[in-house]
Symmetry: C2
Subunit: 192 residues, 2 copies
């Protein structure tokens, strides 16, 4: 019954971590059960014993973006600081990889129920994080917004769009320019 191995984590958890690693490595589309079991050092049967692939994939995907959200929106920070953290983590090289995963997730969500849930959860988590900053900034009197939720929606959407643009190697935009555009839009919306 005990599932501990020498390194102290269960095979089940090991498989989940391997899935996360594979997703980050090859993306959602190219990730396969065999790649995961190989990475986890585990037989193919064990994965299917613990998980169904669509669920495992969505679970791992969700955990990745939960970690992103925690990085981008740390708790207990004043709105000013939180906003700066938001800008700082917006267009890092890592964010580039995450955005590729995000895009694949969004497109899979149309046909995969588990992914659909995961994407919805992650999206509301991330957009909610930004909305919280704007709202608490209002409360603190840092800025005044007639409709903080609407503003957050527009700025979040702009972020999504800039990230997508940055992903396309065609556009001659780099991360610094993307961040500048994001800051400019914030300036126009909240007058920071």
């Amino acid at each position: 019954m005990s599932a501990g191995t020498q390194d102290g984590i269960s095979r089940q958890e090991r498989i989940l971590q391997a899935t996360i690693a594979v997703l980050l490595d090859v993306g959602l589309r190219a990730a396969t059960t065999r790649a995961v079991t190989e990475k986890a050092g585990v037989g193919t049967g064990l994965l299917n014993h613990y998980f169904r692939w669509p669920d495992l994939r969505a679970l791992a995907w969700g955990q990745i973006f939960e970690a992103v959200a925690q990085d981008q929106f740390p708790t207990d920070a004043d709105p000013q600081m939180a906003l700066e953290q938001y800008f700082a983590t917006s267009f890092t090289p890592d964010a580039h990889r995450f955005w590729h995963l995000w895009t694949e997730g969004a497109s899979l969500a149309a046909s995969d129920v588990a992914m659909k849930d995961a994407v919805e959860t992650a999206r509301s988590r991330l957009h909610g994080g930004l909305a919280n900053i704007l709202v608490s900034g209002c409360s603190a009197g840092l800025w005044h917004l007639p409709d903080p939720q609407g503003t957050a929606l527009r700025l979040g959407a702009l972020y999504d769009g800039l990230a997508g643009l940055l992903l396309s190697s065609a556009s001659d935009m780099n991360a610094a320019q993307a961040e500048a555009h994001l800051r400019k839009a914030f300036h126009q919306e909240i007058g920071l």
Copy 2:
């Protein structure tokens, strides 16, 4: 050598049109050569005689968005009218389907060379269309922008983000609200 059939279009063109239809019907991920040949009423061998699947798929995808661009950015319209057409065609039910295709294309572009080219072309076509409107509006004195290209980039990115948000059934936003947000952002950027 003549390729005319009773309806006057070549089998090759017939296959291309069938591919477009299949893409619009089931999306990029689920589209298969067999679905296309069946729709075109043609043997599987013929498709492979005329095309390689990745190329055909990218070609059809590109034609879809070329049509979208022509719809969204008609030629010879004054900037004011063009902008109104842009708003009007932005979040129609059709645009919803197109956006799904767009998302799938963007995620495929990472691993598919043909799709990468098609996506880059379509993106520059669409963003260029918006930039043209803003620039010619400047020339006509309808509005004054210090950096029309940058403004177009932000507004285009915002549009992308809003469309993605609209695709997610989780967000309680509808097409009318999305258009309202888009208009509001235009108002803030160009003071229309």
